[in-house]
Symmetry: C2
Amino acid sequence: MNIYDIASQAGVSIATVSRVLNGSDKVSPRTRARVLEIIERSGYTPNIFAQGLGIGTIHAVGILVPDISDLFMADSVAFLERLLRARGYSSLLATSGFERESKEQQVQMLLSKKVDALILVGSTYAGAGVDPEETGYIRRAAEQIPVFLINGQVEGENIFSCVCDDYAAMYSITSQLIGRGHRRFLFLTDSGSYSALQKRAGHEDALRDAGITPDPALSLRMPNRIHPVRDQLLERTSERTPGDVSGSADASPEAPLRFDAVIATDDGMAVGAVKYAAARGLHLPDDLEIVGYNNSSLSVACEPELTSIDNLLSEMCEKTVHHLHEYLSGDHDQPRQVRLGWRLVERGTTKRS
Amino acid sequence: MNIYDIASQAGVSIATVSRVLNGSDKVSPRTRARVLEIIERSGYTPNIFAQGLGIGTIHAVGILVPDISDLFMADSVAFLERLLRARGYSSLLATSGFERESKEQQVQMLLSKKVDALILVGSTYAGAGVDPEETGYIRRAAEQIPVFLINGQVEGENIFSCVCDDYAAMYSITSQLIGRGHRRFLFLTDSGSYSALQKRAGHEDALRDAGITPDPALSLRMPNRIHPVRDQLLERTSERTPGDVSGSADASPEAPLRFDAVIATDDGMAVGAVKYAAARGLHLPDDLEIVGYNNSSLSVACEPELTSIDNLLSEMCEKTVHHLHEYLSGDHDQPRQVRLGWRLVERGTTKRS
DNA sequence: TTGTAAGCGTTATCAA
DNA sequence: TTGATAACGCTTACAA
């Protein structure tokens, strides 16, 4: 069933059918009605490949995330897919992991699918900002189609970034905690991305502005998973145990960690800290205050519930899709950088200010 | 940059370039090398639409989920996307919500994109099994391309289902709990889908086989969200409070719920029950045992951690993609139904048997 | 082993 | 307002 079948059944040419299909106004109402009826009855739908061949696009947007099973990413994709669909775009989803090479590959893959635009979700795509070539593949992709980053920032022609003001959020919450008397902050992060660096900078600047020197030993990198974080903290805060000489030679004896507040760049790690506190018999928030990031469903699952910074993900997605749509509608003059606010959601792991 | 450019630069015909591209063995090594080098250098990639027009497919699979922000769905999509990509398929993701009409629409949408197969994730696509027309749109889609269901079951030509043996899982855990002396089970579910019905059937059959009559008042439908569940349980177990005469007239006074075990068809509700227990000052698992389903990350976030039934999602995804690939490779003789096992992950909300 | 040419199903440009 | 026809870029008989 193709356009020729419809045309012959309706007794018109394929051009007329095509016009009806594309809502051209240069078709008489009678003809339009007749054609529409036949299309309806036969259940005909245009062949998308032929359509794409002709006009070069099929209204599809590529969405790339490092890991869709991550709560934050899953939420992002949920928002994006719905918003895009509402505007008539379909979503091609791909996951890239965190390796540079596979990110490049996946971007290439999506480009080869002739998507109209690319949305990269997660600060991992911003790189650490040290080596500009780290994000070269994004700039090269942007020569072909607009690239939109969510929660990440890359400079370049045709590249549009939407981020949460992580620096300000971290500065603010750190200052609040300092105001409540805390001095030794454990800072937990799972990546060295742009966003993670911003968060750390906000945190450390707040410390410095309060006359506290950030202690590198209290800045830890961990996987964003509950049990590993709990276990590492238990291990590194315990008294040194004898035995275990089997380890590598450079295992210099580390001083046990001492801290009175924990700030994590993601809820997963923060919940790990909550578990650590429970295992140590610490009472939250009196003995220890803990703050997470992303306000995910984990934050209401743990006990006590986790105070977390909400980075207004839905707003980021909305703004991004809005600008994407405007761009594809012909207005290429969209803001290169959108920086949104944030919201502290106070729950049981912090005291009220 | 198209196949003609490559052909002329290499001094061959487009047919030869096409052969090189498609790995035909009827090309001399020398020619192949020359063509490949030019392709490499120019960064040429075939136009996917033209390719699709020619052969009718572009190796894409449509994945439909009701809600990608659900932990279970997100994990499913993560597995599926990776497995599909490993076999050379790209993933078109769509979300449908839970309404019949939008499910139909989205299936149509994916069909119109000419995907090679459809994967529907979640028991919502199986319907409740009452009205066969409820799943008619799936059977109609299956006339065009194979449809694979994960965690749902629909009978029909070209429809392949992969499910967890929810009935057996629920029968087993219920029997265990009965063996530990429980008699009054609160059964929580968030849907009336096939899977939910199977779970309930397993649960109730176990009760009956132990001589316990299932109490309909203890079978509750709730949203799969922590706080709403907690609050409803608190409300329905409390002493009747005065006032609130404003409600509807048919608000017959319900007896407060009494139960000594909770079984939920998803972790979200189970964690809600954990929260309820905490609010009531109940000690888990001594005063109350709770079992969730899906073994999601929520189960390790709450305190005490939640015993949950693991439905072997990764295996379901693997089997599904395997059969899908076999089917698309020409072997249409795949098992219509695959029923996998399950695993009880015991944590702090149950006693050890 | 290579080339020629038909066909895939649209859209869009001209003419009529 | 309509119709003929040329792209669009590829795959694949069939010929050479």
